[in-house]
Amino acid sequence: MNIKTRALKKSLWVYHLSTGSCNNCDIEILDCLSPRFDIERFGMVLVGSPKHADVLLITGIVTKKNLERVKEVYHETPKPCFVVAVGTCACSGNMFRSGYNMAGPLKNVIPVDVFIPGCPPGPAAIISAVVKLLNKLK
């Protein structure tokens, strides 16, 4: 394990990007911060810029107008970083797959490390996914 991954697993900073979601996954991500789930006990904090982030939580299908922005945000994130596709929309496109404004599922745009299916996945599912990610690093 090199120094970068060792430092990474201590405290993951999370940047959250919506690329065409319905808000549900976004609320559930925010719910992780609320007192019941309290994701900060794992050292995770939501940050305001991809430049500070270790993990990108991406929700929603990638719409055509957002395509370039997703690539740019991924480009701005310091590597190594993780990309987590939250919700069925980000994983596979859900029922919007046949829509004319869909630019493809997230995995075709940027490399994805973790998929969390569910519409929307509950906060418990999101936390468990990130913990699995941490365990994979060890």
């Binding site: 940047y15 959250h16 990007l17 919506s18 690329t19 065409g20 979601s21 319905c22 808000n23 549900n24 996954c25 976004d26 609320i27 559930e28 925010l30 719910d31 911060l33 609320s34 007192p35 019941r36 939501l46 940050v47 305001g48 810029s49 929700t59 929603g60 299908i61 719409t63 107008k65 957002n66 922005r69 859900n94 029922m95 919007f96 046949s98 829509g99 004319y100 404004n101 869909m102 519409c119 929307p120 509950g122």
Partner: protein, 394 residues
């Protein structure tokens, strides 16, 4: 005059769609606002034309995660209007219960986020803690924390049994006391009054000019509410009142939303009284949809949702038009933001109703020197929070 342009967006957290606002500023004051949309366009109306009538309820549910009961209700109203049928009484009450629970959770969510934007993170944590039992109840009644899938054309998908009613009553009682406490704390706070009173004022005329709806209109003294004006579900059988305020500032919008929570609790309790210890049909089976057209309205959390469907007798709609409340509420920023400072913009934008869906980036650049400086949404929120701190000290 040196003009500074502050783009807010495109992935803006305040609405169901990411939107792009460009603020033209003179120093700290906002002199003009521009709006661009389309970042979250998923082509739902077109996809709807390829789905079966029953599948469309699931599709419209995913227009907005927070209004995930409002759109199906409006759609079901539209199709039932087309068919000319009525739904069973028990289904009407269940629809009302779910709609009002959704209103409760959304208004609480709004109160929490408004607290966060103003630098009162305690309010955010409290409110989101109070909201959790409500989501548990939703999970118990419908099977999911969000995206409830309760509505079906001709009725509802699931029944509510007496045990669930008991649990729901208990949760509502606790929520009522918590909400009373919250309302007093929030509304009596002198700092919050200083931050919110006379900020982002919309007059009655502005509301009429822009056609704004929902709590935004009601806070300015425009007394409109689809639930009363054009009753559907069980609203006409129940005793409740529409909350209105006169000033139209952000404070009044907060008051309207907090007081509506009490009304929602009242409505749910009455509905529970009517369906407790009774049995009844919950679904009026619909076999096929004849050619024709129908409209459906629903008072969603942010205002009136409107759905129009047209059928040619096949298994899917040939036209489905949707108008969501934010579409008319958003342009009111042209009135409410102009003349205010940048630090107040966060809460004015939030005043219409935020769906905090992503952390925002903003870039500020000087139009004259073309110097570019990146500012994050967090920084705007921080500015707003600093202003509160200053007020607290003085």
């Amino acid at each position: 005059m040196k003009k500074i342009i502050v783009p807010l967006g495109p992935d803006h957290p305040l609405f169901e769609e990411p939107e792009f606002f460009i603020l033209h500023c003179d120093g700290e004051n906002v002199v003009d606002v521009e709006w661009q949309a389309g970042y979250n366009h998923r082509g739902i109306e077109k996809i709807s034309e390829t789905k079966h009538w029953d599948q469309v309820t699931f599709l419209v549910e995913r227009i907005c995660g927070i209004c995930s009961n409002s759109h199906p209700v409006a759609y079901a109203n539209a199709v039932e209007n087309l068919l000319g049928i009525d739904i069973p009484e028990r289904a009407k009450y269940i629809r009302t219960i779910i709609s009002e629970m959704e209103r409760l959770h959304s208004h609480l969510l709004w109160a929490g986020l408004a607290g966060h934007f103003l630098g009162y993170n305690t309010v955010f944590m409290w409110v989101w803690k109070y909201r959790e039992p409500l989501l548990d109840m939703m999970e118990m009644l419908t099977g999911n924390r969000n995206n409830y899938s309760m509505i079906k054309i001709g009725g509802v998908r699931r029944d509510i049994n007496d045990e669930q009613i008991k649990a729901l009553r208990k949760t509502l009682d606790t929520l009522k006391t918590q909400n009373e406490m919250l309302t007093k704390v929030v509304l009596d706070d002198p700092v919050l009054q200083a931050r919110l009173v006379n900020v982002g004022v919309l007059t009655k005329k502005d509301i009429k000019d822009y056609g704004a709806v929902g709590p935004v209109a009601r806070a300015s003294g425009v007394d409109i509410d689809v639930r009363r004006d054009n009753p559907y579900a069980a609203y006409s059988f129940i005793d409740w009142k529409v909350i209105t305020r006169e000033n139209g500032d952000v404070f009044d919008k907060a008051v309207v939303r907090l007081l509506e929570c009490f009304e929602s609790i009242k409505i749910i309790q009455q509905c529970l009284d009517r369906i407790e210890n009774k049995k009844g049909e919950i679904l009026n089976e619909v076999k096929e949809i004849p050619p024709g057209e129908g409209i459906g309205r629903h008072e969603a959390l942010r205002g009136e949702v409107f759905h129009y469907v047209r059928s040619d007798g096949t298994s899917s709609p040939i036209r489905h038009k949707i108008r969501a409340p934010s579409y008319v509420n958003v342009p009111t920023f042209k009135k409410s933001c102009i003349g205010q400072t940048i630090s107040d913009v966060a809460i004015i934008l939030a005043g219409v109703d935020p769906c905090y869906c992503c952390t925002e980036r903003v870039s500020v650049y000087d139009a004259n020197t073309r110097k570019k400086k990146n500012v994050t949404w967090t920084e705007i929120v921080r500015k707003s929070q600093e202003k509160t701190k200053k007020l607290k000290k003085s």
